[in-house]
C-alpha cells in the first residue's frame, strides 16, 4: 500500500468529522483541550497545572519566558513525555499517548525546538521520515526513492527555501535550511494539528515571511496550528489567540484582536497580572 503524500487521507477520528468543518468561534468545541497538566523532572516542576484550548482551524500562539515550560508542554502534547497529572482531550475524547506515534496517527505533526532531523540521512529521507512511500506489498515493501526524491522538491518549494540538493545530507545544511526542512515536513504531514516550537528562530526575513505565509495556508486548509514564539510582532501578525505561560502555569488567554504587544509582554514578565485560571 502506498501512502499518499498530500493530506487527503482521513484520520481515524474519534469524534464526528463535521465538527472541524464548522467555523471557528467560541461555540465550537476545541480540537485539543488541556486541563490541569503537570509534569516534573525530579525537583524541577516544569508544568504546574496548565490549561489550554486549541480552537479548530485557528492559530494559537503560546508565549512565555525561557524555561516557562513551553517545550515541555509540546512534548507532553505529542506523546514524548507522559504527563504526571491532568488530562488532554482530543476532539472531546480523553487521550493518553503512549508514544509520539499515537499523536502522529491523529494527524499531529511537530517542529520540535531541537528540529528532530537525522543529520546523516539525506534531506528527502528526513522529509519522508516515518511517512515513507513504498512499492510492493506485505513484507516485500521497497522504498520508492524516485518518487520521494521528486516530491521532496515540491514539498520544499512551498516554503521559500533554497535547498539546492535534496540528496545531500542534513549535516551539510545551514541552521536556517534545517529549520525550513523541519517546518516543511510538519506542514506537509500535519492533517489536524501542526505544532511549531520557535520555528523562525534561525530564519532570515524572507524565510520568516514564507513560514508565516505557510501558517496562513494551513489555516485556510483548516489545520489547527500551535505556534510558540518569542516574536511579539509575529504573534500579532499570524495568531488568532495567544496563551501566556508563566513558571509552568497558564497566566492568561487573550484574543489577539483584543490585545497589544505591550500587554502580552507584561503578561509574560508578570508586570501585568494574569487571570489566575484562564
Amino acid at each position: 500500500m502506498t501512502d499518499t503524500p498530500a493530506r487527503a487521507t482521513g484520520v481515524s477520528a474519534a469524534a464526528p468529522a463535521s465538527q472541524d468543518a464548522a467555523p471557528a468561534d467560541h461555540v465550537v468545541s476545541p480540537l485539543v483541550e488541556i486541563t490541569g497538566l503537570r509534569k516534573s523532572f525530579g525537583a524541577v516542576h516544569a508544568l504546574q497545572g496548565v490549561d489550554l484550548k486549541l480552537a479548530p482551524g485557528e492559530v494559537t500562539a503560546l508565549l512565555g519566558d525561557n524555561g516557562a515550560g513551553k517545550s515541555t508542554l509540546v512534548r507532553c502534547l505529542t506523546g514524548v513525555h507522559p504527563p504526571d497529572a491532568g488530562e488532554i482531550r482530543f476532539r472531546g475524547e480523553q487521550i493518553r499517548f503512549h508514544s509520539p506515534d499515537d499523536a502522529r496517527q491523529l494527524g499531529i505533526e511537530t517542529v520540535f525546538q531541537t528540529l528532530g532531523l537525522i543529520e546523516d540521512l539525506p534531506v528527502w529521507q528526513n522529509l519522508y521520515l516515518n511517512h515513507e512511500l513504498t512499492r510492493g506489498f506485505g513484507p516485500f515493501q521497497l522504498l520508492d526513492k524516485k518518487s520521494m526524491i521528486a516530491q521532496s522538491r515540491a514539498i520544499l518549494s512551498r516554503l521559500d527555501v533554497n535547498v539546492p540538493n535534496v540528496r545531500a545530507t542534513v549535516r551539510r545544511m545551514s541552521g536556517g535550511q534545517r529549520q525550513c526542512i523541519a517546518i516543511a515536513r510538519a506542514a506537509n504531514w500535519g492533517r489536524t494539528l501542526v505544532i511549531m516550537d520557535e520555528p523562525t528562530a534561525a530564519l532570515g526575513v524572507r524565510e520568516t515571511a514564507a513560514v508565516e505565509e505557510l501558517i496562513d495556508r494551513l489555516r485556510e486548509a483548516s489545520v489547527t496550528v500551535l505556534l510558540i514564539s518569542h516574536d511579539m510582532a509575529q504573534v500579532l501578525r499570524v495568531a488568532d489567540t495567544a496563551y501566556v505561560l508563566r513558571r509552568g502555569q497558564t497566566a492568561a488567554r487573550r484574543a489577539v484582536c483584543a490585545t497589544t504587544g505591550d500587554e502580552l509582554v507584561g503578561l509574560i514578565t508578570g508586570a501585568v497580572l494574569g487571570d489566575a485560571h484562564a
Partner: protein, 319 residues
C-alpha cells in the same frame, strides 16, 4: 555556512577523510601485495578459496554486528553466542534429533540470546556494552554446562558437503555469506526498517519524536545479531566438524573490527555493508597470510589489534 554549491578546497583534513573512507580496500590491497611477495602460496586458487570460506563465518557475524552498530549499540556477546549456538547444534544432533531440528535449534539459541540483549538494552534502557558483556559471560557458562566443557563432534555428511562443496566454482559458504550480506544491505538501504535503524542510531530522540518505535528497532538489531551468530555457528560446525565450547573469542574483536574498518561509525547512524565485507576480508587475509608465512600464532592477535587501533585512529579524520 551553506557550502553546498562551493566545491570544498582540498585541505589535509579532507584527504585524510578520503583515506579513511577507503581504509579497508587500501588495507586489503596492501595485505594482498605483502603476502603475495612474501609467499607463493598466498595468491593461489586453493588458498584464496579457503580464505574466503573462513572469511564467510566472520562476515556473517560482522553483518549482525553491523546492524547493532548502526543503532549506536555494540554486541559483545557474539564471542560466546557462536560457541553456544554451535553447542546447541552439537547437543541436539548427538541426542539424535536430526539435522534439520538441530540446525533450527541452533538458530533459535542464537536468536534467543540476541532477543535477551535487545530486551535488556531497549526496554530496560540498560547500557549496551554492560548488558552484552553480561550475556557474554552467562552464555559461555551455559555452553560449558551443556557440553561439560567437552568438544561435541558432529558427523554429518550434509554439513561436510556444505563446507566443501558448492555450485560450480562457488563454494556454499560464499553463497551463504553473500546472501546474508545482500539481505543486510537490502534491509538497510531499501526498506523502511532500514531507514528506522539508521535514524535510531543517528538521533534517537529525533527518531522517537517522529513516531518511530525505537525500542522495537533496537530489539530488531540485537535479535538479528543473535540470529547471525546462529547462522555463523552452523557454518562453524560444518567447517570444523564439531562444537568446541572454549574457542572463538577472537571472532568477537574481529567482528567489531570489520565494522570499524569498513567505515561505519560506532556512534551509530552510518552503515557501510560493502565496507564491512571488505573489513572482514582484510582481517581474514591477515590471519591467513600469517599462518602461511609461518609467523607464530601468538603474533596474530597483536597484528589484528594493531589494525583495529589503526582503523580507530583513521576514523578520527572521517568527520
Amino acid at each position: 555556512m551553506a557550502d553546498t554549491q562551493a566545491p570544498g578546497r582540498l585541505d589535509p583534513g579532507l584527504s585524510f577523510g578520503a583515506a579513511a573512507r577507503f581504509a579497508a580496500p587500501i588495507g586489503l590491497g596492501v595485505v594482498f601485495l605483502v603476502f603475495f611477495i612474501a609467499t607463493p602460496d598466498f595468491l593461489t586458487m586453493s588458498n584464496i578459496s579457503d580464505l574466503l570460506v573462513s572469511a564467510s563465518i566472520l562476515l556473517v557475524l560482522a553483518m549482525g554486528q553491523q546492524l547493532v552498530v548502526t543503532v549506536a549499540g555494540i554486541d559483545l556477546s557474539v564471542g560466546s553466542n557462536l560457541p553456544w549456538s554451535a553447542a546447541v547444534l552439537g547437543y541436539a544432533y548427538t541426542s539424535g534429533w536430526g539435522l534439520t531440528v538441530s540446525i533450527g535449534l541452533a538458530l533459535l539459541a542464537g536468536l534467543a540470546a540476541g532477543v535477551v540483549n535487545g530486551l535488556l538494552v531497549a526496554r530496560l534502557n540498560m547500557t549496551d556494552f554492560i548488558v552484552t558483556l553480561g550475556t557474554l559471560s552467562v552464555v559461555s557458562g551455559l555452553t560449558l554446562l551443556l557440553t561439560s566443557g567437552n568438544t561435541v563432534p558432529v558427523n554429518s555428511d550434509f554439513l561436510r558437503g556444505l563446507a566443501i562443496d558448492g555450485i560450480g566454482p562457488l563454494r556454499w559458504f560464499w553463497v551463504l555469506a553473500f546472501v546474508v550480506a545482500a539481505l543486510v544491505g537490502f534491509l538497510l538501504y531499501r526498506t523502511r526498517t532500514g531507514t528506522y535503524l539508521l535514524s535510531t542510531g543517528g538521533n534517537i530522540e529525533a527518531a522517537r519524536g517522529v513516531g518511530i518505535h525505537v525500542d522495537r528497532i533496537r530489539l530488531i538489531a540485537y535479535a538479528s545479531s543473535g540470529l547471525a551468530c546462529g547462522v555463523a555457528a552452523v557454518l562453524f560446525v560444518a567447517r570444523t566438524g564439531g562444537a568446541d565450547p572454549s574457542l572463538q573469542t577472537d571472532l568477537l574483536l574481529s567482528s567489531i573490527a570489520a565494522v570499524v574498518l569498513g567505515g561505519s561509525s560506532l556512534f551509530g547512524g552510518k552503515a557501510s555493508v560493502l565496507g564491512t565485507v571488505t573489513g572482514a576480508l582484510l582481517l581474514q587475509s591477515l590471519i591467513n597470510g600469517f599462518t602461511l608465512v609461518g609467523i607464530s600464532q601468538y603474533y596474530q592477535p597483536i597484528a589484528v589489534g594493531t589494525v583495529v587501533l589503526g582503523a580507530a585512529f583513521i576514523s578520527r579524520f572521517q568527520k
